[in-house]
């Protein structure tokens, strides 16, 4: 170090104390560290480095706020100390402010260019933030300072690779390998490094070199991962178009006969396809049948053959497949067969096979010595047939079959579960919840049944009752079952609960749960941080690179998409109508909500007490780490509802979806909704154009074409910058010579048999101030025989009639109730309340009424 400022230098006694302080921190002896720091500060109260260290120690001891304040003070005392900046960086890292942390680390590096610790941390931060060019430089420096550490070489190669410079990466690896001496046998780290080198060559397109390297190292037993060798070998040979590829793929299939990817590899290597519509299908089918004969225990080739076969051949193959499954009693047989139902002829063949099986299994034995079928075969066949009918929308028929099965064997949980599912599909949510409870009562220790039953309660809107069920399996000392499930990152629970609150109109709690989903994904993104160090230490580079690209696509997960879309819809609604956010549920809280509020109050008070206790417990040596403790300061979501920047928050949520879910039209619709309200008209028009490219006739898009024109023409002046572009895209969306009314009725003519389209037209009509009667008349055309109407669309239409205060709302509701006979979602509020009570009653063990209560004689 060059000139140390006067304030930093300490006389020998304090200097020794400071060194001791650093050691005490490293060994986490926090109490002693605190004392030592105070000793130094007594004499030198403005010593930046000690102040920072003291702050760091305090943060670790749980006195976080104090600690962070001190660190800031310390940095100000000594702006050119690498220690101060390093400590500040650590604090930011603890709070997951990676960008801020990196800035601090860069500052620290200014004053200590070759500090290994700081460099290493900086490299990890750069990887986390995907700043790959910075990463290359940092790794270069690390390698220059310590070329003897093998890790540094591989890390530099990886940095080049991530930055897109595969050639440099290759050079680094080659140089590195030339320096290696005395590699122990079967060294996994070296094996993994070589596998990485092979992958690098493959990524560079140098397949022959990659193959050579793989073969040499496999032969010399340098690479020890046999499966990887086989897989990479087959892949490379296929890419080289070599004759040996077929054999290599065959070896893989024999190695694991149930791995679908190996069959795909084998087939595509031969230039064939697993697509049934492809001309080569018969050839592929022959190959699969050969495999099936050769590998009799494998299901994969037999199942794949079903996809490719058709007509009589299909019948020949599917009959033994299904019979074997039904006799074995495989509950998931239908799920397996479901994939074939895109082909209607196969649907019918399967139905026939199942019906024949049912007759076969229920036939009376011809004599007492004949082999009669197992009653369980009959049972599972009925189960299959019920699933078949429900899948094809024949819910009443499915119930009929299920009731038959239930009278045969009422103790099979699957029957009750599926009956519940059929009722749910048919619109009877309370009936579904009731059946699921019946299923659950049969086996109280089955968590799957528990979760399903609770989920069905959530779907029926019974949030508290669902929570009671979840609570049977969650941690007893958690603040609530929901809190435990949230901590366990149960996306299933969070999505269902959020949707339930949303449907109930409880926007605050819905928003809170959607945000919780966002948080889960943020956590999963943060989780990769430790691997930047770990994977390089262990040389497991290939899987590490896969992790990084997986993380890059993380938010393409359906749960995130759902949460982002639903939450941004709520934010948009809040923007349009802020009164929704202020005690909007008609002012009065339901008893459940009151209870929730009280609970939340108690929890908040407990938290305060805990915090107070914590500050009193500061004299322990417990290392609380550098992460700020989680606290919930918005128990009923009201803060979220009243936030001042709903549109910005929505935009942030939708942002990743523009790349990760760009083929979903809903994403562009949502993006438009937010952009147009933020007055970003060019962005809005671009979003609509993306939507057009996906599905130009989509009903939601139709509504917004007209809305957009109305919005733009109502602007006081055309925006100067994008004015002409805007006019151009507007014209593409809705040609200026066409009136909105004409456009709307033309759309209706094109889609008069689509319920969602009719709803869209009605919404537009209302906006264009068409007379109410006409609007309602249009809506009621959905009952026409040509219009396939489903429950989902009916509920949307009902909601529209309700919110627009149509006089024909009840009429519509009643007609839907008649059309969907099994449903209950269209019943009136009083009827629903009665059904809810029935759903919550303890399981009825029918057959005998209570006046027949006998008991066993004492």
């Amino acid at each position: 170090m060059s000139d140390i400022p006067a304030k930093r230098a300490l006389p020998s006694k304090e200097s020794a104390l400071f060194k001791e302080l650093l050691t005490l921190y490293e060994t986490r002896q926090l109490k002693k560290g605190l004392k030592t720091a105070d000793q130094i500060l007594k004499k030198f109260p403005e010593h930046g480095e000690t102040t920072c260290m003291k702050g760091l120690v305090l943060a670790h001891m749980g006195r976080r706020e104090e600690g962070v304040d001190l660190v800031r003070k310390g940095v100000r005392f000594d702006l050119t100390s690498h220690i101060c900046w390093h400590v500040y960086g650590l604090i930011h890292k603890g709070e997951k402010n990676y960008e801020e942390a990196l800035k601090c680390y860069k500052q620290a590096l200014k004053y200590d260019k070759e500090n290994l610790n700081i460099l290493r941390d900086a490299a990890q931060l750069e990887t986390q933030l995907r700043i790959y060019d910075g990463l290359v430089e940092t790794r270069h420096t690390l390698l220059r300072i310590r070329p003897a550490m093998r890790q540094h070489w591989v890390a530099l190669a990886v940095a080049y690779h991530l930055n897109g410079n595969l050639t440099e990466a290759k050079k680094v690896l080659e140089h590195y390998e030339s320096t290696l001496k005395n590699i122990p046998d079967y060294d996994v780290e070296h094996s993994e490094t070589m596998l990485y080198h092979v992958r690098l060559l493959e990524d560079l397109g140098e397949f022959t070199e990659a193959l050579a390297m793989l073969d040499v190292n496999a032969k010399d037993r340098v690479i020890v991962d046999k499966t990887s060798i086989m897989e990479i070998r087959a892949r490379l040979l296929a890419k080289l178009g070599s004759d040996e590829a077929e054999h290599a793929w065959r070896v893989l299939v024999e190695h694991n006969p149930d791995c679908y990817q190996y069959y795909e590899g084998y087939i595509s290597n031969l230039g064939l396809s697993l697509d049934v519509s492809d001309a080569s299908a018969p050839k592929t089918l022959t190959i699969l049948e050969e495999f099936a004969t050769q590998l009799p225990k494998a299901t994969a080739p037999r199942r794949l053959a079903l996809t490719l076969a058709s007509g009589d051949h299909f019948t020949e193959l599917v009959t033994p497949y299904m019979l074997s499954g039904l006799k074995k009693g495989i509950p998931s047989l239908f799920s397996d067969m479901k994939g074939l139902y895109t082909d209607e002829s196969k649907q019918q063949i399967i139905e026939k096979v199942a019906d024949d099986a049912r007759n076969q299994f229920s036939a009376e034995p011809s004599s007492s010595t004949s082999k009669d079928a197992e009653p369980t075969s009959y049972l599972w066949t009925l189960y299959f047939i019920a699933q078949h009918h429900s899948y094809l929308g024949r819910h009443a028929k499915a119930i009929e079959i299920l009731d038959l099965a239930l009278s045969h064997t009422p103790t099979l949980p699957e029957l009750h579960m599926f009956k519940g599912r059929v009722l749910k599909r048919a619109g009877d949510l309370f009936g579904g919840a009731r059946c699921l409870e019946d299923a659950r009562s049969l086996d109280g220790q089955d968590r799957f049944l528990n979760t399903k039953s609770a989920k069905y309660r959530l779907r029926a809107g019974m949030v508290d009752e669902a929570s009671a069920l979840f609570g049977l399996f969650t941690k007893k000392d958690a603040p609530s079952p929901g809190a435990d499930l949230e901590e366990m990152q149960s996306l299933l629970y969070l999505v269902e609960a959020a949707d339930a609150y949303n449907r109930n109109g409880n926007l605050g709690l819905a928003l809170k749960k959607y945000m919780a989903i966002k948080k889960v994904f943020d956590e999963i993104e943060d989780d990769q941080y430790d691997f930047h160090g770990y994977s390089l230490r262990k040389f497991t580079v290939n899987i590490y690179l896969n992790l990084l690209s997986w993380e890059d696509r993380l938010r393409s997960h359906p749960a995130y998409i759902k949460a982002a879309l639903s939450a941004s819809a709520i934010f948009v609604a809040l923007h349009d109508n802020p009164s929704l956010g202020t005690g909007a549920t008609s002012g009065e809280l339901t008893s459940a909500q009151k209870k929730a509020k009280q609970k939340a109050k108690k929890a908040a008070e407990k938290l305060k007490e805990d915090a107070k206790k914590a500050t009193h417990q500061t004299n322990t040596n417990d290392d609380k780490g550098l992460e700020p403790p989680a606290k919930d300061d918005d128990p009923d979501g009201s803060k979220l509802l009243q936030c001042t920047d709903p549109l910005e928050r929505a935009a942030k949520l939708l942002n990743p979806l523009a790349t990760l879910a760009e083929s979903k039209i809903e994403v562009w619709i949502a993006t438009y909704d937010v952009a147009v309200r933020r007055k970003k008209y060019l962005q809005a028009s671009k979003a609509l154009m993306r939507a057009v490219a996906i599905d130009a006739e989509h009903p939601e898009l139709h509504i917004r074409r007209i809305e957009f024109r109305q919005t733009v023409s109502a602007l006081p002046e055309t925006p100067q910058v994008s004015g002409s572009l805007l006019t151009e895209s507007l014209n593409k969306l809705l040609p200026e010579e066409v009136s909105a009314e004409a456009f709307n009725s033309q759309y209706l003519q094109r889609h008069s048999t689509s319920a969602p389209a009719i709803l869209a037209v009605a919404k537009v009509m209302l906006k264009l101030q068409t007379p109410r009667e006409q609007v309602d008349d249009t809506v009621f055309t959905v009952f026409g025989t040509e219009v396939p109407l489903d429950i989902k669309s009916s509920l949307s239409i009902l909601s529209f009639l309700r919110s627009s205060k149509s006089p024909r709302e009840d009429e519509f509701r009643t007609r839907c109730g008649e059309k969907f006979e099994l449903s209950t979602v269209f019943k009136s509020a009083e009827e629903l309340e009665k059904l809810r009570q029935v759903a919550l009653a303890p399981p009825q063990f029918d057959a005998v009424s209570s006046d027949k209560t006998e008991d066993v004689m004492p």
């Binding site: 010595t369 369980t376 064997t409 009562s441 049969l442 086996d443 109280g444 027949k852 006998e854 008991d855």
Partner: protein, 165 residues
């Protein structure tokens, strides 16, 4: 002999008692009280109260209680039944054998006899137990209060001090 699936037995727990209730509701014309369901979970009768599974599906139940009267220890068979489609597959016999063997091996106290009631209209059931070594030792007139006929045979099997049947 017809093809036979696999059968097994399971002890009763608060988690599977719901299945027992379900079986009882379809097998027997009697509604059993809450006390019945509490008593069959007691540890001392674990060997004598079982669920019967066939090909992994619960299809039957057998429940007994221990009695000590007049210096004699008896095992009283309260319920035993198999769902209709699963009968004639020797599940009933296997269940009876299970509890008989357990009774014979029971030490504290040593069980002298097993007995049960059969409604006088149920000749099939009587024949079944007689095939397994039970004999009629009397009729309990008016045993059933709420279902008709009200009388029940008392069937009993005594254990010798030797090995089980």
């Amino acid at each position: 002999m017809s093809t036979r699936g696999v059968y097994s037995f399971a002890s009763l727990t608060p988690n599977n008692i719901g299945t027992v209730r379900k079986l009882n509701s379809v097998l027997f014309p009697i509604k059993y009280s809450e006390k019945f369901y509490q008593d069959i979970l007691l540890p001392e009768v674990e060997d004598f109260c079982k669920l019967v599974y066939y090909n992994d599906v619960p299809v039957g139940t057998v429940c007994c209680r221990l009695e000590n009267k007049n210096g004699e220890a008896s095992l009283y068979l309260m319920t035993m039944g198999i769902l209709a489609p699963y009968r004639s597959r020797e599940l009933g016999s296997a269940s009876l054998k299970l509890i008989s063997d357990a009774a014979a091996a029971h030490a504290k106290p040593k069980i002298d006899r097993i007995y049960l009631h059969v409604q006088v209209s149920n000749a099939d059931a009587k024949r079944f137990y007689e095939r397994h070594g039970f004999t009629e030792v009397g009729v309990h007139v008016g045993y059933y209060k709420k279902i008709a006929p009200h009388d029940a045979w008392i069937l009993e099997k005594r254990f010798s001090s030797q090995a089980p049947e």
